[in-house]
Amino acid sequence: MSEIMLEVRGLKKHFDTPKGKLHAVDGVSFSIEKGKTLGIVGESGCGKSTTGRVILRLLEATEGEILFEGKNIRELDKKQMRLLREEMQIIFQDPFASLNPRMTASEIIAEPLIIHKLVKSKKELTRRVEELMDLVGLSPRLVNTYPHELDGGRRQRIGIARALALNPKFIICDEPVSALDVSIQAQVLNLMQDLQDRLGLTYIFITHDLSVVKHFCDDIAVMYLGQMVEKASAGVLFSNPSHPYTRALLSAIPTTDLDKIMEREVLEGEISSPVDPAPGCRFAGRCKLANSSCSVKDIPLQEIAHHHYAACNQLTQ
């Protein structure tokens, strides 16, 4: 069943800043099949979160198409969009900031149900909230607690329950575990995996932690300064990284394997500014392979092997 859940074409999001136009997302295209997980990785500020927000129309895209089950959601009006929110949800990075500190766990989980009038009675609401809490592994004792009384792991479970309340098919997870301690992180990752198996969810999983992404995702897209530089299945990407940036990124991951430590290629320099970027490969400044041809015009993603795409001049010449 290789039905496409979401397809994004030429997505752009530019912000106006005092210094100029900030190209947060600059022509990103990809698609996700139903029931699969697409991982988006990249360094801080490369536009991962912005991509997620634009897809959910929490931010309006500057350009591009977002096809959700075939229909372009950018053309929907406010009302239709609100209906569509039952289908697509988001889990945020910071489990503290994303929960209203003045609402109890049950109030937070119940809110989407109330807004979309999915329950008919108070009793049904209570039942449904309890169901959801049970689903994400929250004890019913916690119904009346406030977020600050809970640890990060539980808070994140509330966030997950809120996202699940509307029975969405598709969830964007924006770094859902990076604020958590390692031991809790593993608990939450397992939960999300279980939920996907049971409910057949489709995920976009945004993170900067490559080991998590490898563990969790079917496909992986690597972003650099608003653009996608490589996309492949998890296995292929890790066994055969092609884009110089991907290679550098993978080799930079600190590993616990004491024998693997010395073979690294460390990148020189830092990410350049996304404000009014010059055309051409955004990575060229830090790239060992770069030559003058890299800075002529933007380089599109090209298929370099079956289902393996990369945006690099040097690979395709």
Binding site: E43, A186, A248, P254, L258
Partner: protein
């Protein structure tokens, strides 16, 4: 002083305990910990949030904020003399000079209203008998050394990226060639690629100056990159310590095992992670007995009553574990 103390370890923390008292509640942030570190060695201090890593480091620097914090007992020998006994002005001569510390968050560790160069020059001016222009030259040297053009001396921290700020912080810490550098999660806030740069830089400097280092982290991978020895902290105690190979490859304590089970390994494909169940205990109400026992899959009745003593494992003399499972004889007695 260093001549006659050749045989001794550079730093030796004995039985150090630190508590915080807030609103009548006592947090035992650090309880009876022991650490030793020789010249040129690097120790990795690993633990989850709230384990007491930063507090330990502050204890060594004698910078535990008071109130609410207080050193409740123990000794910190540096080069043979107890830092906790020194008068404040003597301690000030050591800080930033013999012992330096890099704090957790580079974004906030620099004074936003002083130029980065002045912040480096200041430490030189305090500790070395140089005049102002000399200290400025030295600061420029340090900037170049950490890979920042000296021309950016008069810029302010907000004009720098996270990685550059972290490098400035390192430059401050190393400006007086300290014997001991304490780095508190120096790369946690940074992206992987920048993290790799900074780790490389620190490794290089350490080799060049033979600086001893305590590297605090919750990332097992980062510690593996730079450390010779590790100590694993849990709820204010060191549960396992020893040479890095012993601890990583012959893991003894259930908590350490749990940590390894929680992180996805790039080299292995596992269907599910094996997390440690439960949560860190409430620091003001620590469990009796072994502090890890409520979460420990192997806990016995004894574990909930008696706290385990640190013992050497059978493998090597330096590999120390605090766990009843490593004391088979006691188990019988219990």
């Amino acid at each position: 002083m260093s001549e006659q103390n050749k045989g001794q370890p550079l730093l030796s923390v004995e039985n150090l305990s630190i508590v915080y008292e807030v609103g009548g509640e006592i947090t035992r942030a650090v309880s009876h910990i022991n650490l030793t570190l020789n010249r040129g060695e690097t120790l990795g201090l690993i633990g989850e949030t709230g384990a007491g890593k930063t507090t330990t480091a502050l204890g060594v620097m004698r910078l535990v904020p008071n109130p609410p914090g207080r050193v409740a007992g123990g000794k910190v020998f540096y080069d043979g003399c107890d830092l906790l006994d020194l008068p404040e002005d003597r301690m000030r001569e050591i800080r930033g000079n013999k012992v330096s510390m890099i704090f957790q968050d580079p974004m906030t560790s620099l004074n936003p209203v002083m130029t980065v160069g002045d912040q480096i020059a200041e430490v030189v001016l305090i500790h070395q008998s140089v005049d102002k222009p000399q200290s400025i030259n030295k600061a420029k040297e340090m900037l170049e050394m950490v890979g920042i053009p000296a021309g950016r001396y008069s810029e302010y921290p907000h004009q720098f990226s996270g990685g550059m700020k972290q490098r400035v912080v390192i430059a401050i810490a190393l400006a007086c060639n300290p014997d001991l550098l304490i780095a508190d999660e120096p790369t946690t806030a940074l992206d992987v690629t920048i993290q790799a740069q900074v780790l490389d830089l620190m490794k290089g400097l350490k080799q060049k100056y033979n600086t001893a280092m305590i590297m605090i982290s919750h990332d097992l991978g980062v510690v593996a990159q730079v450390c010779d020895k590790v100590a694993i902290m849990y709820a204010g105690e060191i549960v396992e310590s020893g040479p890095i190979r012993d601890v990583y490859q012959n893991t003894q304590h259930p908590y350490t095992k749990g940590l390894f089970g929680s992180i996805p390994d790039l080299n292995k494909d596992v269907e599910r992670l094996v997390p440690i169940k439960g949560l860190m205990p409430d620091p003001t109400h620590l469990p009796k007995g072994c502090r890890f026992h409520p979460r420990c899959p192997e806990a016995t009745a004894l574990c909930s009553k008696v706290s385990p003593k640190p013992v050497s494992t059978l493998v090597g003399g330096d590999h120390i574990v605090s766990c009843h499972l490593a004391h088979p004889q006691l188990e019988c007695a219990g």
